[in-house]
Amino acid sequence: MQFGLSESQEFLKDSARKFFAGECPSAEMRRLMETDTAYDAELWSKLTDQGYTGIIFPEEYGGVGLGQVELMLLMEEAGRALLPGPFFSTVVLAGSVLDAVCTPALKSKYLAPICRGEVRATVAILEANASWNSRDVQLNAANGKLNGEKFFVPDAAVANFIIVVAGNGVFLVDSKAASLKISPMSGMDLTRKLYVVEFRNTPAEELGSVAQLPRAFDIATAALSAELVGGMQRTLEITVEYAKTRKQFGKPIGSFQAVQHQCADMYLETESSRSAVYYAGWALEEKAPDAATAVSIAKMYASDAGRTVGNRGIQIHGGMGFTWENDVHLYYRRAKASETAFGDATFHRERIASAVIDSGNVAAKTA
């Protein structure tokens, strides 16, 4: 048994960190977040060159065929850099849904171009009720057409196609369709834009049934948790650095225990989230019986920790933490958006409860 990263996993994580530091430093991230879509074609083609757009997908569709743990590592580094734009929507979310739901022919048609970096895509899930519970989806396709609206759809404006979760199946619509209206929602997180998507007799191609969605959503949920870990890591680093250099009362503020202990808690929360995310990645990869619960454990913990690490980070910066120019609030905004996406801690605690209380399963497989 080995819960450390392998050499190739370390290599991947390390090169991702270097890649994002070079191609998406804070200044570039800030430039993109001020644009309408936070999307940059040049950055996208560099992500593609790295193989990131096909990271977990089979080689027959142009993917790299790496595992879920590798995806977690990449997303952790993307989160650390606060990577703006549609990477999560396109690769993690739409890619995983296509991979889980589609026939080989449909995968060649839709997943392969994602792997090759030729298209952007997203998945429309939530409706006005903003419920992550699949039974609350009310939209249904009828005669190959969709009518209704979806909310909180990430990166819809730059998506070439939109995958729509309906009550009676998973559908795909062309985002250029005249019968489709995409309008922005103004969210806290400026690096990942949200939209309302309205369908009026919009032609929709059926991709498959909703039965395979849970696994795709579990992958997306775990990847989002991994992103949160990266955000926490960066917040911790920035904060510790500040605590070492900022002086008050003639000393670095990091020498005051009230500050030091908060930093220690940030470290504990970050590391514990990371352990939970790595385990979830492994359980997904192995298709372990407890994989869904493991994902909920990771999302539950990282959702709460992402927020508290941010709280502490801002607090330790004093007045500086409250300014626009300090990056900590940008991580904090992303953390809030990610906290609610795919269910917040309360939602996932109930999922865990039904696994450990109602079905009497233990929370995780013991070795």
Binding site: G254, A264, V362
Partner: protein
């Protein structure tokens, strides 16, 4: 990353499982709730039996009676022991902390003299570190050891000494040179508790029992050959013991906590709240889920730490998050138990209406000690701040 057991780990597990099936005592539940003084001989016998199968100290090198087990095998060991609800071993400090320190720092003669009897539970060990004026600031300890020919003459007081009441030997940290800086003048002595001048007094804990003691030393003569490690190098020797202390808990706690939460979930099905079983109350479900999840995360943290130690060879200061995590989690767990049990939660052992012989009221009180023993939570946070994050020292 690969959490499947290796072939070697599977062999280890299967051999242990097979041994446990035919050797684990069936009557432990009759003894479990009895006072420690009564059950202690039982625990000694069990440890002796384990060592007959060479299972008492799996982490120890083979040449000293262990199995040179890897950290993962040690985790498997504790998991299997918990699975069959095996009794604990009598000489837990000797096996977990002090034996390994003797193996690391002891002379050949000391190893020969002490190691076999630690394994067989013939000699029980206690850890004489804390003093009334030296707890967190252990290096400030005052117990004096004056050289007199081929003996040290020891004077002073130790406190909070677990197993003091049953200890045959003590790993004692003393000051051998008061003229040196406080970390520099310490040494570790191995002291026979039957030496003239040693007086052990019970200390009653807030739980009502006397798990630990205070020990007075008046002109106690300890042969110089019983010094462990070098003279005035006691700080390093003692730190090595504390590293074992921090490392050794985590692995066995996972299943203990899991057994608590499982029992609590069982209880919650039969306790009514707002006209339905507590297990169906949304707020209680949230709390049980949070706690179950944290118990798993504690295990993930532990496994990651093991892999890191296996790679680097030494436990680092990151181990402090384990200590904080398990001790504070245990307190949260017992608090949830109290919320679920309501008025019954307070009933003590002996009350006919107490839930499960009063283990919950006992555990609630006992867990307050968790954030104090083996280094307080504040001290652990100082360690992370200073040694892991590199923040400037606060003192």
């Amino acid at each position: 990353m690969d959490l499947n057991l290796t072939a070697e780990e599977l062999t280890f597990r299967d051999e242990l499982r097979a041994w446990l099936v035919s050797n684990v005592p069936k009557d432990w539940s009759d003894w479990r709730e009895k006072p420690m003084e009564e059950s202690f001989p039982y625990l000694r016998t069990w440890q002796r039996k384990l060592q007959e199968g060479r299972w008492a100290a799996v982490s120890w090198p083979k040449e000293y009676g262990g199995r040179s087990a890897s950290l993962m095998q040690q985790a498997i060991f504790w998991e299997e022991m918990a699975r069959v609800e095996a009794p604990p071993m009598a000489n837990s400090l000797g096996l977990g902390l002090i034996g390994p320190t003797i193996i690391a720092y002891g002379t050949e003669a000391q190893k020969k003299r002490f190691i076999p009897k630690i394994l067989s539970a013939e000699e029980i060990w206690c850890q004489g570190f804390s003093e009334p004026n030296a707890g967190s600031d252990l290096a400030g300890l005052q117990m004096e050891a004056r050289l007199d020919g081929d003996h040290y003459v020891v004077n002073g007081q130790k406190v909070w000494t677990s197993y003091g009441w049953v200890g045959n030997w003590c790993e004692l940290v003393v000051r051998t040179d008061a003229s040196l800086a406080k970390h520099k003048g310490l040494s570790v002595l191995l002291v026979d508790m039957k030496s003239p001048g040693v007086e052990v007094r019970p200390l009653r804990q807030m739980t009502g029992e006397s798990e630990f003691n205070e020990i007075f030393f008046r002109d106690v003569r300890v042969p110089t050959e019983n010094i462990l490690g070098k003279v005035n190098d006691g700080w390093n020797v003692a730190m090595s013991t504390l590293m074992y202390e921090r490392g050794s808990y985590g692995a066995r706690l996972h299943l203990i906590f899991k057994s608590y939460i499982t029992r609590l979930i069982e209880l919650s099905r039969n306790i009514q709240r707002n006209g339905r079983p507590a297990s169906q109350d949304p707020l209680i479900r949230q709390k049980l889920a949070q706690c179950s999840a944290e118990i798993e995360i504690m295990r993930f943290n532990q496994m990651r730490a093991f892999s890191r130690i296996t790679a680097t060879g030494v436990p680092g200061p990151e181990g402090s998050i384990q200590k904080i995590f398990w001790s504070e989690l245990n307190q949260r767990l017992q608090q949830i138990a109290q919320e679920i049990l309501g008025s019954y939660g307070q009933l003590l052992a002996g009350d006919p209406r107490a839930i499960e012989e009063g283990i919950w009221s006992y555990a609630y009180l006992r867990t307050r000690g968790n954030t104090i023993e083996a280094g307080t939570s504040e001290v652990q946070r100082n360690i992370i701040g200073h040694f892991v994050l590199g923040l400037p020292r606060s003192y």
